[in-house]
Every structure is written in C-alpha cells, then in structure tokens.
C-alpha cells in the first residue's frame, strides 16, 4: 500500500492541522494553509479532520497509486485527472491499483489538498505530521516531496459504495465567496497608526505580491505610517497577524509564521477568512474590513457549525452505505 511521486510539483508537502503547544519554544504550529479544505477532504474519505494530507500548489504533483484506495481532492481547482479523465473536487474518488492522478490546469485557488482514506504513514514530530522544513522534521522526512518518493499508506479496507455523494457547491461557496474581502479585527498596535493610515487600511486595496509564501503574504499598496516610529520589543504573533513593516507596507503572517515578531501588529485576519485568504492568488487585490471582536467570535462559531454539518453528513453517509 503506497503512492509514488512521479512529478513533485511546487512545494508539495505533507501537512495536518498543525503542531500545538510548542510556540513558547519558538516552534510554530505550521500545518495546512486552508484548514477548511483539508478538514473536508478528510471527512469525505472517512478520516478525522487532523489526518495528514498532501498540500499542493500549481504546478501540482503527479501521483501513482500502488493500491486500491478512496481519495478526495479539495481547495484549489487544478483540473484533477485520474488516468486522463477529469474528476470533480469535494467528492470521494475510488482509485484502483495502478491509477495515475495528475493536475493539468490552474483554474482557480492557490492550494489543493489530497486526502487518502486511512491516511499515510509519515513522521510525527511533537504531536503533528506537519512538515517543518526549517528543522527538517515531521511529515515526509521533514521536507518537501521529491520525484520518486514512495509514501506508505495505512492499510484500510476499501469498499466501493453503490452510491456516491459530494459537498453542495453552495456550502463551499459560503466559505470562499467575496474572495477579495478579508475580514479582520484590530491588533494590539492598531492605535499606533495615524488616522490617514486607518483610512488606507480600511478603504484601499492591497495586492498580494510575488514575494508571498507559506510564511507570509507581502502586500503592496499605499504606505501606512505610525504616529511615532518606535522600535518594539518582540512579542507573540499568530496565523493572520497583519504587521506593518518599516517601509509602510503590510505583511499577513500565514501558516509557517514565526512565533514572535517585532513589527507593529495592526490587525488580525479572522480565522473564518483564513481559508479564503489561503486560496487568493498572488497579484490579486484584496480589501480589509474591520469587525468588532464579538462579531469575529460569532462568525467563527457559525463556520464551525458548517464544518460540523459536513462532518456529520459524511459520517452518516458512511454509516448508511
């Protein structure tokens, strides 16, 4: 039971929902950029949400299967094909020993996820299967996937169901709609920026630059400035923290962010909009909308409700068929 990487694609890596409990040692959570897509891909194949998946960018990986398995693909639409036949996203797909999965067109989104029923046999480090490239630990040998890598799969019986199911497009749409509008709350240093900068932040667009990766998105837009420039002592940051760099430009910290930083944290992207932000492509303009904290909490709860309904729906399908 295994899969082999025929073509590695760009920055394909094994990830789960991240490594918690080690930020105080300087070890960040890492994990998938889009927790919604990864969780749903897992539910679709009967896994729990934290099972390791393969995160891919475009060009994505070409993968050969040496076993009969159930898989699902979610997140970005890279025109997935099995043996040159197009296959849909957000649906269980039954793979036969010898099948080839490939992606041949960059249609929408930025990151696709491949979940495999039963999961892969990869390395756990500090409680997580996420790949930490910096210290070369976790995931597949602590590194990005390479040509000819062979990843073992956990043995699990696959029964092809007489019926199939998929996630309603409207549900997916509810998570990723208004892709250019990113909601946030004010950060600890928001009051350090001047009124003009407050206006720039809330009323102008920012383009996600080419220098954006899993660590952070560098934005290009009108420069913001501080009322008084000050050197700050380092303090904690998180996934979604928006920092103001000395040149007046913003950076949004993403999954592989450092645990601490010294730039003013003027805002934080709400958790419910992180999947959407993870799927926005470089050179796309986004706008920020500030919400009160209470609203951010509300939205988070309602997103979890959506995720829970999907989870239950998938569990019910597997229980009934």
């Amino acid at each position: 039971m295994s899969i082999s990487i025929i073509k590695p694609g760009i920055c394909s890596a094994v990830q789960d929902l991240g490594r918690t409990g080690y930020r105080s040692l300087g070890i960040g959570p890492g994990g998938v950029m889009d927790f919604f897509a990864a969780s749903v891909a897992n539910y679709l194949v009967g896994n729990d949400e934290n099972t390791a998946v393969i995160e891919m960018h475009f060009p994505a990986a070409t993968i050969a299967f040496q076993s009969d398995v159930c898989i699902s693909i979610s997140g970005a639409d890279f025109a997935a094909h099995i043996n040159d036949i197009p296959v849909p996203l957000y649906q269980p797909l039954y793979i036969t020993n010898g099948d080839l999965l490939s992606f041949n067109k960059n249609i929408s989104g930025a990151r696709a996820y491949l979940a495999i029923g039963g999961g892969m046999t990869t390395d756990q480090w500090l409680g997580s299967y996420s790949t930490n490239v910096k210290v070369q630990a976790g995931g597949f040998k602590g590194r990005l996937l390479q040509k000819d890598d062979v990843i073992s799969l956990n043995a699990v019986a696959v029964t092809k169901r007489s019926k199939n199911f998929s996630i309603a497009p409207s549900v997916i749409e509810s998570i990723y709609a208004k892709e250019n509008l990113i909601c946030c709350i004010t950060g600890p240093e928001y009051q350090l920026i001047n009124t003009k900068s407050e206006n720039i932040f809330s009323n102008t667009s920012f383009v996600i630059s080419n220098h954006s990766d899993r660590m952070g998105y560098r934005l290009q837009g009108d420069a913001l400035s501080l009322i008084n420039s000050a050197e700050l002592v380092s303090s904690a940051v998180g996934f979604g923290t928006i920092q103001l760099l000395p040149n007046g430009q913003l950076i949004v910290l993403m999954a592989d962010h450092q645990t601490t930083g010294g730039y003013p944290r003027i805002a934080a992207v709400i958790t419910a909009d992180l999947p959407k932000l993870a799927q926005v492509r470089v050179n796309t303009a986004i706008k920020f909308k500030l919400l009160p904290l209470s609203k951010a909490e509300e939205i988070l709860l309602s997103m979890h409700q959506t995720i829970n309904e999907i989870k239950k729906g998938c569990q019910n399908f597997y229980a009934a068929h």
Partner: protein, 246 residues
C-alpha cells in the same frame, strides 16, 4: 533553581486581542528583568493549570499571549458575553495573585562554550575601538538572562550585552547563518539553533546543539535561564562539535 528573591512591583498592563483565539497581556515596550519574571510566572502558572479551552501561552520580553479554543470556551461557559472576556477574567485573577509577590528565580548558570572566530568579530571589535581579546573578555564576563524564545525553534533572546560591545544588526542580513553561530543584535546576544537567514553580528560559534529535534525536550535554553559564555580554542571546538556536517 535554588535561591529565591522576593520582588514586589506593580506596573500598568494592557490586555488586548491578538486575534479572536488569543489574548495578549502587555506591560509595554520594555526590557526589564522583574517584568519578564512576572511574564514567565504567568506562563508557568497557566501551563501548570490551564483553564478549559486553553491551548498554550507564549511569553516574550514584556508580554504574554494566551491562545485558546473559542469554540470550547463558548460551549463550556454558557454565561459569558464572549470567550475573550472569559479568558480576560482568568488572566486578571492570575495577575492579581502574581502582582503581590513574584519570586525572581536564581537559576543554575548554563555554560556555553564558544570558539570566537565569527565573521563579524574583527569588524565589531574595530567599531568599538577594542581588540578582539577585549571583546571576548567583555562578552564572556557578563551573565545573561534568557528573556524569551522566538524567531526560530529554540532561539533564545539573551541580554543584556555590555554597551561597550552592543552593536546594531547588519544592514543586509546574511542568507544563511549556520547553526551554532553566536551573534549580537543591539543589546541582545543569541545563538542560531538551525541554519537560517539572519542579520545578527556573528562573533563566534558554539559546538553545542542548542536545538535538537530528535530530543523529547529539543531546546537547550528556555525563558528565565541564566547563561554564561566560555571562550574555547579551535581544537576544543572541533573535539566537542555536535554538528555532523562541520
């Protein structure tokens, strides 16, 4: 840790949201042993007795971030206005206990051997009108406090560096600073735990692994630790070198 000194101090702090899953307590933009000790005490107490829904806390120079699961808190606490308010109450209770009395721990001093041959050693000495020997002597005389860990896994921010050798970061960061490199940035000194880009002024190298991912406890240094650097020779460095690729 052995001796304890009791310190009584009180200082204004602010509580804000870092995001909707994390609260930040900040005592301001300051590097101060007593405040840092209070932050570490808060971190240790929260870690030893986490409230339901707490994920982890992150101590820094003068702030502590408390990460929590908003969903779990909302489910467990039905009489709360928001998860943030609930966590804030818990943190305030803890601070009021700690405000009264904080023990400054006098930890055992950890000795770090350093072969002083860093690429910036001569430049830093020159800049301050010192000989290399004087610079080494000044760097090895002080006992440093680990204020916090961040930036990289196991990267300990240590201070305070004697003002005679305190040096601003390099204008152009290096693309790769090898693991074990000992550097200075302003009044801070630190050791690169893994190969990484970095802008600190490099003065030497330790043969000790500061970060070892194969160990259950991967970091040699933690916030609150006391550190002293000891100058060693090239031969000694090579004998004790724990990095395979050198």
């Amino acid at each position: 840790m052995n001796t304890k000194i009791t310190l009584i101090s009180s200082r204004a702090f602010h509580i804000t949201a870092l995001n909707e899953n994390a609260l930040l307590v900040s005592y301001g933009n300051i590097i101060d042993t007593a405040i840092n000790e209070k932050i570490i005490a808060l971190h240790e107490q929260l870690t030893a007795a986490p409230f339901g829904g707490m994920i982890e806390s992150v101590p820094a120079y003068a702030s502590l971030a408390v990460f929590y699961d908003t969903l779990i808190i909302k489910q467990q606490q039905t009489n709360i206005t928001s998860a943030f308010d609930f966590v804030q109450q818990r943190v305030l209770q803890l601070i009021s206990k700690i405000e009264v009395q904080t023990d400054i721990r006098i930890n055992t001093i950890i000795s770090i051997p350093v072969y002083y041959n860093g690429e910036d050693l001569n430049d830093v000495a020159c800049l301050h009108g010192l000989s290399v020997e004087e610079l080494i002597q000044i760097h090895t005389t002080a006992t440093y406090r680990v204020y916090m860990t961040g930036f990289l896994p196991g990267f300990a921010y240590m201070g305070t560096v004697d003002e005679r050798i305190a040096t601003a970061r390099k204008e152009l960061p290096r693309l790769c600073v090898p693991a074990g490199s000992v550097g200075i940035a302003g009044a801070q000194t630190g050791i690169y735990p893994v190969d990484s880009p970095g802008g600190w002024q490099l003065i030497g190298k330790t043969p000790l692994k500061i970060f070892d991912q194969t160990k259950k406890d991967p970091c040699l240094l933690k916030a609150g630790d006391q550190v002293k650097f000891v100058s060693i020779t090239k031969t000694e460095f090579e004998k004790r070198n724990e990095y395979q690729h050198h």
